[in-house]
């Protein structure tokens, strides 16, 4: 057991210091453990990591998708914030999402979301199976403090399960994102003392006994739910059994401040995610910037008349009108999404690990439930693939066929070597497109 962390120790340079001026991160300061040796050197085996990044509603294709394919594509206005990551990313467009079109309950957003995350049909309540991040976590999440993290930012939503959640443990079983930075901080870096841990353990033992006693008397449906509860308790137990390594001095985000200032929250969450990776507390995360069919407001973009979903349908492409305004608004919104994604990439790239950076060993996928937002278009999706130096073919825009699940499977197995084997609606791997090396490094 390591010594307890103090919550109030300071890491200069983290942007969640509230009113404090931002200071640059001292070179490598964060990367040293108590003994002064580089953290990464403690463990020669380098970890692979996976991030599924989502924002709601879709894109405006003409401002988002590059005209040219291949290496010499021109960055579009929406992608511009990623300019400095050009060699560390791959824009893949034209992917299908076939499960979104299976007849069944739900509106286009519900159906597309379930299909996008899980490759399965919307059940009328939630997604029809485990999401791709959970499929990956099942393979590579076993040894870390958290099997996976679900992180969210904007909470503005119509409120239904499939709209509010992107990660799914199983059929109709959402894994809600943590949307409050100070709570995420507490999970990752909160103070833990030996006495607390011991008490927590005996408490959990009692809960587990109670659950087992109850289980015997139940029907299968309830048993299943209780088993899931027990699994959740096991996850809690795992997180308290292993403390975060004493490596980081992370400042606690402040409770006050504008908790609807989404750009600020997004950056706090990205910082914490990067630290969670750096401290090896998890290897898999989903990041829900805005909700499916989201209703986010964008005052910092000067857009106060309506909400995200309203804008997507505000005559964006209507003939005979000043069509450009609606599309320009969507362009600015999409650009903000990409900006926040770029912030996370930058954060990961700023943290050295071994002879590279965290970004080099993290595969990130950036997806939306729709392609052209105004049309609810659910084929021809555009995805950004980033990170994973070495295995991933980067610096490219590729227009392809195949499904978004094909891409997931390729990234999980051929790029990261996670070995998930299959995923619903994945029929063929797109290895030729996205993989740089013939054989992935071992996980």
């Amino acid at each position: 057991m390591r010594a307890p962390l103090s919550r109030r120790t300071l890491l200069k340079g983290l942007s969640f210091a509230g009113s404090r001026a931002l200071l640059p991160l001292p070179p490598l300061a964060a990367m040293f453990n108590a003994a002064g040796t580089a953290y990464a050197a403690e463990n020669a085996k380098r970890e692979t990591r996976f991030v599924l990044w989502f924002n709601g509603n879709g894109i405006v294709e003409k401002y988002w998708i590059p005209n040219e394919t291949g290496r010499d594509y021109t960055m579009t206005p929406c992608l511009a914030p990623l300019a400095s990551f050009r060699d560390q990313m791959h824009v893949v467009t034209g992917l299908d999402n076939p499960a979104a079109r299976m007849p069944g309950p739900g509106n286009d957003h519900h159906r597309s979301m379930s299909a996008l995350m899980t490759g399965t049909q919307f059940t009328g309540r939630g997604a029809g199976g485990p999401s791709i991040d959970q499929a990956v976590a099942a393979k590579i999440g076993g040894e870390t403090r958290f099997r996976s993290l679900q992180i969210g930012v904007s909470q503005e939503s119509f409120g239904e399960s499939v709209q509010r959640n992107m990660s799914w443990a199983n059929y109709d079983r959402p894994l809600p994102p943590e949307m409050l930075p100070h709570k995420l901080f507490d999970r990752l870096f909160g103070q833990r003392e030996i006495g607390w841990v011991n008490r927590k353990r005996s408490v959990i033992d009692a809960i587990r006994e109670d659950a087992k006693a109850l289980q015997g008397n139940l029907g299968t449906e309830d048993q299943k739910r209780l088993t899931e509860h027990l699994d959740s308790i096991r996850d809690v137990e795992r997180s308290i059994a292993s403390m975060p390594p004493q490596y980081y001095k992370v400042d606690e985000p402040e409770y006050d401040g504008d908790m609807k200032d989404w750009p600020r929250i997004a950056k706090l969450q990205s910082d914490l995610l990067a630290h969670a990776f750096a401290t090896r507390q998890t290897r898999v995360a989903s990041y829900m910037l805005t909700k499916c069919q989201g209703l986010t407001r964008f005052p910092w973009l000067g857009l106060t008349a309506a909400r995200h979903h309203d804008y997507t349908h505000r005559d964006g492409k209507a003939p005979g009108m000043d069509t450009l305004d609606g599309q320009r608004i969507m362009r600015d919104i999409c650009k903000w999404h990409v900006e926040e994604f770029a912030y996370l990439l930058g954060k990961l790239r700023s943290i050295p690990e071994g002879d590279g950076t965290l970004l080099d060993r993290t595969a990130l996928l950036f997806v939306h439930e729709h392609a052209e937002a105004n049309d609810h278009k659910n084929n021809g999706l555009s995805v950004i693939l980033a990170g994973f130096h070495g295995n991933l073919a980067t610096g490219l825009h590729t227009r392809t066929t195949g499904t978004v699940a094909d891409l997931y499977l390729t990234v999980a197995d051929d790029v990261m070597g996670a070995g998930i084997g299959k995923f619903p609606t994945a029929e063929r791997k797109l290895s030729d497109l996205v993989r740089r090396q013939a054989t992935p490094e071992t996980v």
Partner: protein
């Protein structure tokens, strides 16, 4: 000719049962398809029952053929093409029915006890907060730090949404450890047993006593509280008793979590222990006692706030150039109006159908301005609408009118859908995948009313089948704008929003004739007329029962629940629609079953 083999597949393909089912938009018609799980035999019986739609004198004029082909008016439009194989199959089936005698087994239409019903219900967030308030005196509402509950099937307390994710388990853990450390706990040696009985809402088992006494010895009362607040025995409550000896306690919890949204009080537990809850009479007596308690009003508020989606009302966004007076405070006032209005009907023991028809409401200054009325001297005190206002009942509340509108305009479609789904309990099929659901935009030269723009729905056959059931409802409310204020004309802003400085406005007259397809004589032009049409519709009355049933049971009704629903509706109607009687009837008949009362 075999119905299941030769006819059924055509009807499946035409998706007749998308509307012709108990929860469908055609639930008011005589044709109801069997459940999805129906056996071949039941389908065969159903096929035979279609002889009701056969014209024996002139088979060619049978509704069974004329309706789905839209040769006579069919609200669902043309589902089967004239001259198609499907039509031939129907014509042949009509002939066969006409030539045969009805099957003897007819009336025995079985209902399926749908898939096994789960019995464990997790405390909702609001129940958790109320329970720790009553258990430990903590009024901090710890669920503010839990991952929010999702809406499923219109409510936040449905079984299907009640899994415990790792994040929720962690949140329970944090809350439990905080509550355990801040509560004042006696160190008495029988703490585990006495606290346990209140936390688990039943006496502890022998094993539990041993377990928690050991924990007490190790960690004191704090450890016991911390563990119990995370135990499934606390977090879940069984809907029906898993062990016979717990039955009275389970009943006590059912009553208290439905009627009070919190744990049972001492009186209720005492009644359980004395066996008073074992009879419908004793059970009802407790229920009535509980309804007289102020906690019942808070519990009802929770139901109303979910049913009427207050969460969406208070987070609405309105374009301030169209609705300059709209503020967040006004949105909150809207929900307060509806909350007080319902509370008055329920606790004042009024006929609950006034929910749709009442000429009275409860407003503050903001809402008085919005409604163009004189402000009452006390905020949210009772006022009467001016007769000429056309207002009456929930349909005229800003809650409803604004909630179902877009940021800068009304949405007749959303208003129609809300009425169908929330007040008639009819599921309207979703638009088919990939359909462009955008309306034609406003055109500077020739501005259109919403009625004109929505014409697109009615001229496109794939839209029309559903939209002619939905849109006309909302079109009748077009003289109420996107925040619920009266307007004589539709004033449109011809320009895109946000960027352009110059705005041009155009006004066009509004045709506010509306109707509810499927309800005879429902033509209306005002909210109060629509309300009156709804109030006297059996589907609407039954829907009030269904909505409370869903909330009470944490699930949708199944065919097996129909006898209970019918019985509750009979009680409700018999009481002249007193909502308290509806609450009593739901809790009583779901607990004891209608067979108890059959003779």
């Amino acid at each position: 000719m075999n119905f299941v083999r030769d006819v059924w597949p055509h009807l499946e393909k035409a998706d007749c049962k998308g509307c012709h089912n108990n929860d469908g938009v055609a639930s008011t018609t005589r044709l109801q398809f069997p459940e999805a799980e129906a056996t071949a035999e039941e389908r065969e019986l159903f096929g035979d029952s279609l002889r009701r739609f056969v014209d024996t004198a002139d088979p060619a004029k049978s509704m069974l053929v004329l309706k789905p082909t839209n040769k006579i008016g069919h609200a669902g439009g043309r589902r089967i093409q004239p001259g198609s194989e499907a039509e031939t199959a129907l014509v042949n089936w009509v002939k066969q029915l006409n030539a045969t005698k009805p099957l003897a087994r007819h009336e025995e239409r079985k209902t399926h006890a749908a898939h096994e019903k789960p019995v464990l219900r997790r405390l909702t967030h609001s129940q958790y907060d109320n329970t720790v308030r009553d258990l430990l005196g903590d009024i901090s509402r710890p669920s503010r730090n839990f991952p929010p509950e999702d809406f499923i099937d219109g409510f936040k307390n449905q079984f299907e949404g009640q899994s415990i994710s790792p994040l929720l388990a962690e949140s329970y853990g944090e809350a439990a450890s905080r509550l355990a450390s801040t509560a004042k706990l006696p160190k008495s040696p029988n703490f585990a047993e006495s606290f346990g009985k209140r936390a688990f809402r039943r006496p502890l088992t022998a094993l539990e006593k041993t377990r928690y006494q050991a924990l007490f010895a190790k960690g004191g009362p704090e450890a016991v509280v911390e563990a119990m607040l995370q135990s499934p025995a606390f977090l879940y409550r069984p809907e029906t008793a898993l062990k016979a000896e717990n039955k009275p306690y389970v009943r006590a919890s059912r009553l208290s979590y439905l009627l009070w949204d919190t744990m049972p009080d001492e009186t209720l537990i005492a009644a359980a222990e004395k066996g008073e809850l074992n009879t419908p009479e004793g059970f009802e007596k407790q229920a009535r006692r509980m309804l007289a308690d102020p906690k019942a009003a808070l519990a009802l508020d929770e139901f109303v706030s979910q049913w009427m989606r207050f969460d969406r009302v208070v987070t609405m966004v309105k374009d301030r150039r169209f609705y300059p007076n709209f503020t967040r405070e006004m949105a909150v006032a809207m929900t307060e109006e509806t909350r007080r209005f319902v509370a008055d009907l329920v606790w004042g023991n009024r006929n609950f159908l006034e929910f749709f028809t009442s000429g009275d409401t409860f407003i503050n200054g903001d809402l008085a301005t919005l409604y163009n009325m004189k402000a009452p001297s006390d905020d949210f005190s009772r006022v009467s609408y001016p007769a000429e206002s056309g207002r009456g009942g929930i349909i005229s509340h800003a809650t409803f009118l604004a909630l179902t509108s877009k940021p800068s305009e009304t949405s007749p479609t959303a208003r129609g859908l809300f009425v169908r789904e929330q007040f008639l309990c009819q599921n309207v099929p979703q638009p088919p995948p990939g359909v462009n659901t955008n309306l034609p935009p406003q055109n500077e030269e020739k501005p259109m009313t919403n009625r004109e723009r929505l014409q697109m729905h009615l001229t496109n056959p794939s839209c029309a089948t559903c939209h002619n059931l939905i849109d006309p409802i909302g079109l009748g409310l077009e003289k109420f704008d996107g925040v619920g204020a009266w307007r004589e004309q539709l004033t449109m802003r011809i320009a895109n929003f946000d960027r352009r400085r110059e705005q041009r406005t155009v006004s066009v007259p509004i045709d506010n004739r509306g109707w509810v397809a499927g309800i005879q004589g429902s033509e209306f032009q005002t909210p109060s007329e629509l309300g009156a049409a709804l109030a006297k519709t059996p589907q609407c009355q039954e829907c009030l029962v269904k909505q409370y049933f869903r909330y009470a049971m944490g699930r949708r009704e199944t065919p097996a629940d129909r006898p209970v629903i019918a019985r509750v509706l009979a009680d409700f109607r018999g009481s002249q629609f007193r909502f308290q009687e509806l609450m009593i009837a739901v809790v009583k008949w779901t607990e004891f079953g209608v067979h108890a009362d059959r003779n």
